[in-house]
Structures are given as structure tokens and as C-alpha cells.
């Protein structure tokens, strides 16, 4: 997994509540057996005017000029501002894969759906939860200032704007360490292999019917 330490990047605002993972990456793209290549179909139904299917040449498809990420000023954005309950619905990890493949490295919003939130951390994508009023303020600043950028420092747990204002955010200590170091969860867990084996052996004795 890619490590995440400090990110200084352009911010794009997605001003909708309850953005579900079907909207982030529609089902027809889930037929892929790969982990990469989902970026061109991120928000496919909102982003293009036609209906997308796997295998299309996305570069030649008509863009929806009203969709925020198609605006020139947000080209190359790495930080996405979101509203409440972003990433709700399906557990598809294709959603963080698509966001990451598009170029996003961090999301800032008042709340994220549980499974999506968890999936982000497995892919070097940092979801930051800030109070609703603070996120409102960021939306206003982002809309008012073309080229609005933020700097995210994971070690310090801060988000800073170019005007010098600094916001703090919370992150689980364990997730933070994994992300800072780009650690592979499986490798970490397998350090406890003996403990897992012992637990399993004990469970087989107490509840043999779970192992039939």
C-alpha cells in the first residue's frame, strides 16, 4: 500500500449528501477482475452524458459540463470535499479504487459510511472527518477561491489552508501508523499467527460444530 504522510493539493467540492458507492462506481464496471483502471469511470453516470459500459473509449465520451469534477478549475484535484454519509451502500472496494485511480488521495467530510471508510485506509486514501460547520466553511472557501488548496499532515493530524488557518482531526492510532508507513495489513496480522492458531485450537475444543 502507498504510504500517506503529507499531501498538499487542489480541493474539489462535491456538494451532495448520501453519495452512494453505486454513484461512485456503477455496477457494470464491477465485472472487472482487476484492481486498477477504474478512474475514468469514477462518478460515471454524473460525469458523462452517455451511458458507460466497460471497454468504451472514455476519452471520446461526451462530458456533462454541469458536473463539478469536469470544471477546468478542479482538474488535478487530490482532495475531495464531501457531505454527510459519503460512500454509503454497497461494500464495493472499487469505490476507493476509482477515487484513488482518478487521483484523489484524501477526502474531507462530516461523516462517511463505515465500510467505505474502512476500505479507504486499505488503499492509501485518507478520509478525514471534521465537524459539519467546519466542512461548510471549507465548501464556501473552495467555491469562493479558484485554486483553493489544502495541506494535510497525517503525522501532525492537521489540515492547513494557505491563509494560515489550521484544523485538527482525529484518526485511530493503529490506522495512522499503517498509513504513515504504507504497511500491509496482512503482513502485520501474520505476526500474530501463533496467537491465531492457539485461539483457533481452543475454539475447536469449545465449539467443534463451527469447524464441521
Amino acid at each position: 500500500m502507498k504510504a500517506f504522510t503529507i499531501l498538499e493539493g487542489l480541493v474539489a467540492p462535491l456538494d451532495r449528501a448520501n453519495v452512494d458507492t453505486d454513484a461512485i462506481i456503477p455496477k457494470q464496471f464491477l465485472k472487472s477482475i482487476k484492481r486498477s483502471g477504474f478512474g475514468p469511470n469514477l462518478f460515471d453516470e454524473w460525469r458523462y452524458r452517455d451511458h458507460g459500459e466497460p471497454g468504451m473509449d472514455n476519452a471520446s465520451r461526451p462530458l456533462n459540463p454541469d458536473f463539478v469534477l469536469n470544471a477546468e478549475r478542479y482538474r488535478g484535484a487530490q482532495i475531495l470535499l464531501t457531505r454527510q454519509n459519503f460512500g454509503c451502500g454497497s461494500s464495493r472496494e472499487h469505490a476507493p479504487w476509482a477515487l484513488e485511480d482518478y487521483g484523489f488521495r484524501a477526502l474531507i467530510g462530516p461523516s462517511f459510511a463505515d465500510i467505505f471508510f474502512n476500505n479507504c485506509f486499505k488503499n492509501g486514501l485518507l478520509p478525514i472527518v471534521l465537524p459539519e460547520a467546519v466542512v461548510d466553511g471549507l465548501f464556501s472557501q473552495c467555491l469562493a477561491n479558484e485554486g483553493f488548496r489544502l495541506k494535510i499532515d497525517l503525522r501532525e493530524q492537521t489540515v492547513s489552508a494557505t491563509d494560515g488557518s489550521v484544523l485538527s482531526f482525529e484518526v485511530d492510532a493503529f490506522r495512522k501508523e499503517c498509513l504513515l508507513n504504507g504497511w500491509d495489513d496482512i503482513g502485520l496480522t501474520l505476526r500474530h499467527a501463533e496467537k491465531i492458531r492457539a485461539f483457533e485450537a481452543q475454539r475447536k475444543v469449545e465449539h467443534p460444530y463451527f469447524f464441521a
Binding site: 451532495r16 453505486d22 455496477k27 465485472k31 484492481r35 476500505n119 496480522t189 491465531i196 460444530y209
Partner: protein
Amino acid sequence: MQAQTLYEKLWSSHVVHQESDGTALIYIDRHLVHEVTSPQAFEGLKLAGRAPWRVSSIVATADHNTPTDHWDQGIQDPVSRQQVETLDANIRTVGALAYFPFKDQRQGIVHVIGPENGATLPGMTVVCGDSHTSTHGAFACLAHGIGTSEVEHVLATQCLLQKKSKTMLVKVEGELAEGVTAKDVVLAVIGRIGTAGGTGYAIEFGGSTIRGLSMEGRMTICNMAIEAGARAGMVAVDDVTIEYLRGRPYAPKDAHWEQAVTYWRTLISDEGARFDKVIEIDAAGLLPQVTWGTSPEMVTDILGRVPNPASVQDPVRREGMERALSYMGLVADTPLNEVEIDQVFIGSCTNSRIEDLREAAAVARGRRKSDRVKRVLVVPGSGLVKRQAEAEGLHEIFVAAGFEWREPGCSMCLAMNADRLLPGERCASTSNRNFEGRQGNGGRTHLVSPAMAAAAAVTGHFVDVRTFERLAEDGA
């Protein structure tokens, strides 16, 4: 000892290791696998040169991509076919306790086949790369959806990294009126707490209404816990749970059965156990529910009207409602029972079990689908459900009513196969999500119970199923 909730009992009996910040390694008893969210996990395992930890925990099936008709022709879409064949190959290489491939007698929706084969048992942790894994919590297990990285993590380590959730009790009391079902209860719960209301919580559903439900009804309720934002929903063990499991193929037998039942009886929240949040719902006053928008929380009852965004103060919510009404092609203040439909879908991991099909058939019996309805799909949850329904003659009722009786699978719940809505088409659906494009690009979904869906099919618009007389076979 301090009184514990069911969730706390399930959690503490699976902790293998705990980090100082509370992140725990949780042991996984049952790993359900389907074709969409597993290929990258199997590939990752192989690339890292890792062996699967315990293949006897795996129960697999192909459900999302499989067609629901013309099985003799195989899977026409080459991309879908490749995904299903990849699962075949992965299970062939790795192994599993059970695999129900495309066309197998016991193939079906992963959340239907686990319970009906007794592969989902009280006291287990159950995971699957699918958010509706919460369904299995109906059996007093800790069951939730995971992403593909976690699928790989479970394959490699038999564990998951987790933080303990907060606990919520949704207490539903009172007797349901005739025609009001588990689906209506859970839609009402989501309408009350919102799609983010359960975020960070594990929900236990309790109270007399829940205890009065069959396992099918309890599964419908736990299935949609995720639509309230909670990854896990659960119901305590009682006689209904135990009787459902008796004699199922993978359920314990003989001395193990007695031992298991003794343990399962402890899987209830203790008297006096404290929940972080308690929600109370009066079921006696509940009416059949219909969603009107593009989120399951956008729901009202059949006697209600499409709400008016002008009455909402919060600008984010108001804009969300306006966008939903525009997408749904609905005008504010329209009575729900005047909304006409083009298609009906009866199926999905929420409502495709035998009891659901019986409820739909009871309404359809002796009637014909409305001429304005282009298609009514009835998609059983599994091969076993299909055969049971056919043994009861339900398929004949559906066919006589002009409904299409299909092969099992996820079908038009998410429209990954060929079953889908056309842009602008409006559907009465027994599935779980009414998101934009969920049942097909531009399609408009209204979530309802199986009985409500069948009633809409025969009238061509939403209608209060409580007023529907159940007819005899000959329409008399």
C-alpha cells in the same frame, strides 16, 4: 458478571488480539464468497505467495452476474462470464466447504444459501465481500460486509482488524396489521433514524414484533440494517432460530446439536444490559411503506404523499430532495397511491425467500398483471427456494398472473446481469436500494414489500395491500 448485550458477547468471544488503541483482531468462522468482490483477493493472495488459512470456512456461489433465464445458453455477456469462470477456477484451486456454482441445484444469492444450508449458525462471525451480509445477523451471529482487501485478509489470516462498534437496540413492539410485513418495519426504521442513523453502531432488533417474526422476516430486517448505516444487525436466539436450523445440511448433528443448542440459548442480551442508544417503534400503527426518493430513508406510507421540499429548512437536505424528485420524475404532494409503475421486481437478498414468494402469490392469486405494467419479474433467492415454490404451486399462480418465473440470482436488485430498467422506467421493487441508476441507468426504484409489489403489479400503481382481498384460485 456485568449484564452484556448480544453484540458484546459475540465480540468478546472472537477477540484474538487487541492493540492499545482498541483495534482488535477478530476471528472469522464463516467466509461467504461470490464472484464480484473476490477475484482481486484471490489474485493478491497468489501474488504474495500466501496460502489460505482455513478453506473449510468458505462457502461460495455465483449470484451477481448470473442470468435468470435461458440457462441452457450459459452466460452471454463475456465480461460477466469471465468473472464467474474466475470464481470457478479460484475455488477449484483453493477449495471450500461448499461451492454452489452457476446452474447448481443449490446455487443462489449468497445471503439466501448460507442460512438455508445451515452454514450460518448462531455465535459465528460471518463475513462476505457484500454489504448485505448483515442479513445473517438474524441468527444471532456477528455478520457484516467487508471490502476486497479484507476478503484477502480473511483468506490469508482467518481474522479481521476491527474496532468495537457502539450498540443500538431497535425495539419494535406490537402486532403487525394484516398486510404489513418485516419489510415495512425495516423501511419505517430507516425512515425514522436515517441512512446514517446506524453508522458506527451494531443494531440489535428486539421486542415482541421481532420475536413474532419467522427467520425469513428477521433476515429481511437485518438485511437492511446496512441501509440504516449499521454494518451489522442482529436478533437474539429463540425457539424460532433453533427450529429453523434443525436438520439443515451444515447444521450440527446429534451430540454436537445438543451442545450447540445449549450454547446458542446464551446468545441473547442479558436482562439489564446497557445499549448506547435505544429506538422504540410502535408496530401496531404501522402502514405499508413505499419509498419515493433515491435513498431508502426517503420513505413514507401508502396513504402518504410525495413530500414537498419547500417545507424543508436545511439547504443540503432540501437540495437532496429536489434532486431526488427530479430524478424520480415525481411532483411534490402527489398521493403515493396514484403513482403508476412500468415494471415490478420481486426478489433480492431482502425478499426472495419462500415466505416472500408466498406473500406475493397470495395477492397475485386469481388476478392478472395490469396492462400498463411491461414486466413483472419473480426471481427466487435460490434453487432450493425455487423448487419449494414450485412444489407449492406458487409458480403457476405467478405465470397465470402474467408474471415471469425466473432462475435464482441477484438479478434486477443491482442489474449487473441483463435484468434491468430502461431510462425513465418506474419499478415497484422488493429489493433494498433505490439509488440513482441502481436497477439500470435512469431507472426509478420504489422499495416495497413483496405483497405491495404484487398488488402494484395487478393494479398498475401503488395501492394499499391491506384493502386487497385474497382471492381463491379461480378468482372467486
